[in-house]
Symmetry: C2
Subunit: 325 residues, 2 copies
């Protein structure tokens, strides 16, 4: 089974999710619906809805509530992207101009707030307090992760623990919640409710690690955003952390000077750091850590009886570390 086959198992549901996303963004306030249409047209792979749908189906859930929660997690994800792009002053998102570059920061902030609000409003209509609780706690973690990233920007250090903690909150927690929703909808008992969030967490960690590696090595046209966006913004990710602790004293000093200078990092310095990151095996190291998380994710699922949905979830996990290289 490849990623496409895995996704095709929930194709009809994904269409319903896209319709509900469009409906949620359709608003009598023109700016909301304009930006809503723009966001819907440039959509990504819907990996979070795919996780909700596959885990709920794996748990025998066949109803339509999974459509609601898939929409909820995607709206939350979209809201964080809008605010991230303002915080990062990003011009592009998935190969197109970002909302902030097209409509300004003010609109991006307020439409992001609207998407958050809408996601909670959608959830509250379904009235499942266990799920609302899971997602609320996750959204707190995501905000904490974003604040941690802001605080730690331009600060180089050798310890990878704060980075791991940060991506756990910023990215992995939502994917974990996606899989927990699947367990809660299936309502098959505590085993699922314990294992599936763990699966999602490891998939999420791998996802962000690969993203952070791709930022150093992917070509701009594939990634849809400029290469080394993280580096330019002072977002110190695992490839750079690993490089920093690997090199000798004088190289360490040089890297520190480049990163912690208060000016924008020059192109020649970007190129130098990218070369060092590659030469010192920091990309390989990052991908190896990502693969460990994928293996861990797959291992957590070993107790479940085989099904096409289980197989699809394992395929999604594998896809995370294979994409775009």
């Amino acid at each position: 089974m490849d990623f496409k086959n895995a996704v095709s198992l929930v194709k009809n549901d994904l269409n319903d999710v896209e319709s509900l996303i469009s409906k949620s963004l359709d608003n009598s306030v023109p700016l909301i619906s304009d930006i809503g249409r723009y966001l819907s047209s440039g959509r990504g792979k819907h990996i979070r809805p795919v996780l909700v749908l596959l885990t709920s189906k794996m748990n025998g859930y066949e109803g339509k509530r999974s459509i609601i929660y898939s929409t909820v997690v995607e709206l939350i994800h979209m809201a964080t992207l809008l605010h991230d792009d303002v915080v990062d002053k990003a011009d592009k998102r998935r190969g197109s101009p970002s909302v902030n570059s097209k409509w300004g920061n003010q609109a991006s902030i307020l439409i992001g707030d609207y998407l958050f609000a809408k996601s909670f409003s959608l959830m509250s209509e379904d009235s499942d307090c266990r799920i609302i609780n899971s997602i609320s706690r996750t959204v707190v973690k995501m905000a904490e992760g974003e604040v941690m990233q802001l605080m730690e920007s331009y600060h180089l250090r050798e310890d990878e623990t704060p980075y791991m903690e940060r991506i756990n909150r910023k990215t992995a927690s939502l994917m974990s919640s996606c899989c927990e929703i699947g367990a809660l909808l299936g309502n098959n008992g505590q085993k699922q409710e314990k294992i599936l969030p763990d699966f999602g967490l490891n998939v999420g960690m791998a996802f962000q690690l690969v993203d952070d590696a791709l930022d150093y090595v992917a070509k701009e046209d594939r990634l849809g955003k400029p290469i080394c966006k993280d580096l330019r913004e002072g977002n110190i990710t695992l490839p750079l952390i690993h490089l920093y602790r690997t090199v000798n004293g004088s190289e360490k000093k040089r890297i520190k000077e480049i990163i912690e200078s208060n000016d924008a990092i020059e192109k020649e310095h970007i190129d130098l750091i990218v070369k060092m990151v590659k030469d010192h095996g920091a990309i390989d190291y990052t991908l190896q850590v990502a693969k460990q998380h994928v293996e861990q994710a797959k291992k957590t699922m070993s107790g479940f009886k085989n099904s096409e949905y289980l197989e699809a979830l394992l395929t999604v996990a594998d896809y995370i570390v294979e994409r775009d290289f």
Copy 2:
């Protein structure tokens, strides 16, 4: 009974609310707790918690859940202030430097998101889906109101309807929800659940109308923010709308030119418009509309049997139009 007496009826509960707000802002991420402490120290009158507490007590509710929801509405209010100040590029808030001027826009956006998330997380622990539903729908309305304000900025027109619709969403909806929470906590039946939100909505409308009038006539040291902040930001409020439809053709043209020029409005033009607003009775008109809403609010409560809590709520309504003149 004066406003101080009214508030003193819920003084102990308000202390608990302040403690829960502080606890909610206490976080292992230093930037969150730093900004949290700053926000708590410069606190306002807690009018929204006061509404939750008085309405729930009026309905015979004596438990501690009102503390949670008072905190929830105040956190939501604080989140909107943080984002508003970024959107409005405000330097000051309640007489002190705004969070964005002290810590930057990025921190303000992300801490605002944290406060939103935290408020939903607090709510979800109490697991009352009717209240979660009320607040979620309100937060959607508030975001819509903010987007409407952004879209309509610098656009002068004679019709006050879009302005009224906008302040209904932006401000009145949350005060309405505060009073609905009181009704839902009291659980005394549908009469309360219908009347109290209506009371809160009218109080909220009056509150914003007075705020918008004060922006033209209050002294900076009382208001804690520069006079004519709305006018400078192109936020067209009722005093200006009323002036615009009152004046003759050539004055209309002059006002339109000043407002719709794309440059920052010069001090002499600000002074001119403030003088015209006062001379043409636009402040009186705005306050008169606010008073109508207060009267309407008090009228909706006429069917309830007398109690000190009812009296306190009517006092709060009156206070709205009396403050700061």
